[in-house]
């Protein structure tokens, strides 16, 4: 019977921990969970907080995670850590912001077009002026 299991803690930006451990404690949504080898497969959300890890012949280690998911497979445990504190409301606010920015950009499209048009007209007027200038010089 194995007394250790493999633990991976990964976030979208990097791999935080990978190695065999004896025991781990994580702040699950419904309260802290302690996991020993041969734990039943489980999937749960975790809150932001400390994950305590005990590896063989080593001191206990503390790793901070800002929320994420905890997955327990028969011999492998994975913590998918979020890179930032996430909440439904916060995500919603960001979605609205992204939408608003797009709408604004769409509105500005016309003004940009106007700008391009004005620029073209200005260029034409300038070339006309230059031509008139040349003609005048030739006369004198």
């Amino acid at each position: 019977m194995s007394t250790i299991f493999h633990l991976d803690i990964v976030s979208a930006e990097e791999s935080i921990y990978s190695g065999p451990v004896e025991f781990l404690v994580a702040p699950a949504q419904m309260g802290e969970v302690g996991i020993y080898p041969r734990h039943t497969p489980m999937l749960t959300r975790i809150k932001s907080g400390m994950v305590r890890i005990k590896a063989q012949l080593k001191e206990e280690e503390l790793i901070y995670v800002s929320g994420g998911m905890l997955e327990v497979q028969p011999n492998v445990v994975t913590i998918l850590a979020d890179t930032a504190v996430r909440s439904h409301d916060l995500d919603e606010a960001k979605a609205i912001e992204a939408k608003r920015a797009a709408e604004e950009a769409m509105k500005n499209r016309e003004s940009e077009l106007d700008y391009a048009k004005a620029q073209a007209e200005l260029m034409e007027a300038m070339s006309q002026l230059a031509a008139i200038d040349k003609l005048r010089k030739r006369k004198h």
Partner: protein, 294 residues
Amino acid sequence: MAGSREIRNKIKSVKNTQKITRAMEMVAASKMRKAQDRMKKARPYGEKIRNVAAHMSRANTEYRHPFLIARDTVKRIGIIVVTSDKGLCGGLNTNVLRKTLNQMKRWQAEGEQIEACCIGNKGLGFMSRIGANVTSQVVGLGDTPDIVRLVGAVKVVLDGYTQDQFDRVYIFYNRFINTMKQEPVMEQLLPLTDERMQSDEQSNSKPKTTWDYIYEPEAKPVIDDIMIRYVEALIYQAVAENMASEQSARMVAMKAASDNAGNVIDELTLIYNKSRQAAITKELSEIVGGAAAV
């Protein structure tokens, strides 16, 4: 010698340009290394979450997440276009936007509506120029594909999918192959295809055992969370690859520009020397001719 001063000025200005392109090349080279590192670091997360999602899609039969259910009729399509914020990176953005445009034309010919989500300034500018319907955007990401910044725009698209505004979601970006080669690709993001799950699974070569999890607090919100994070991880990966591609494309483009500037300087120097020698010869022969006349 009216020409010689002009040529000298020209050489000077080309030299200045070369200095700038060379500096940009070096900046891009150092950024490229970081961007590639970031892209590699993002991989384990993508793999892990993919495994979880694949297990889950097989294990839990009571609740199937909408991301996994393919729809029969496709009327509206959401696209995510990943480009860089800045230019001067060769044909990188042009290639991916050309691919996007061709695909959009094909869809429009089939009578499908398209809504776009733009990540990166260049794509946004292009989409608004061609009059596409842009529903969300993220610009000014800088050098790090910050997932916090991406969340909002991505959520608009994912919500659109779950609320039946889109029937399919595709993503366009530059896949990083190596420093010299980047390839514009189109991938179907939603619904998540079975083959995507399977091909990922096989690469891990694990025995196909299935088990059901204990879900805490219950299955639905946990599965929802995993699925959203999975799709976000895919998009994050795409953005990270695009950024690595951007820096390498810029480095290559700037190297080519520096080399070209070098060639121009050589040519101009040759012309300058020729005209200088011609002038000297002319002056000499005038003096000699003058002396002979006296």
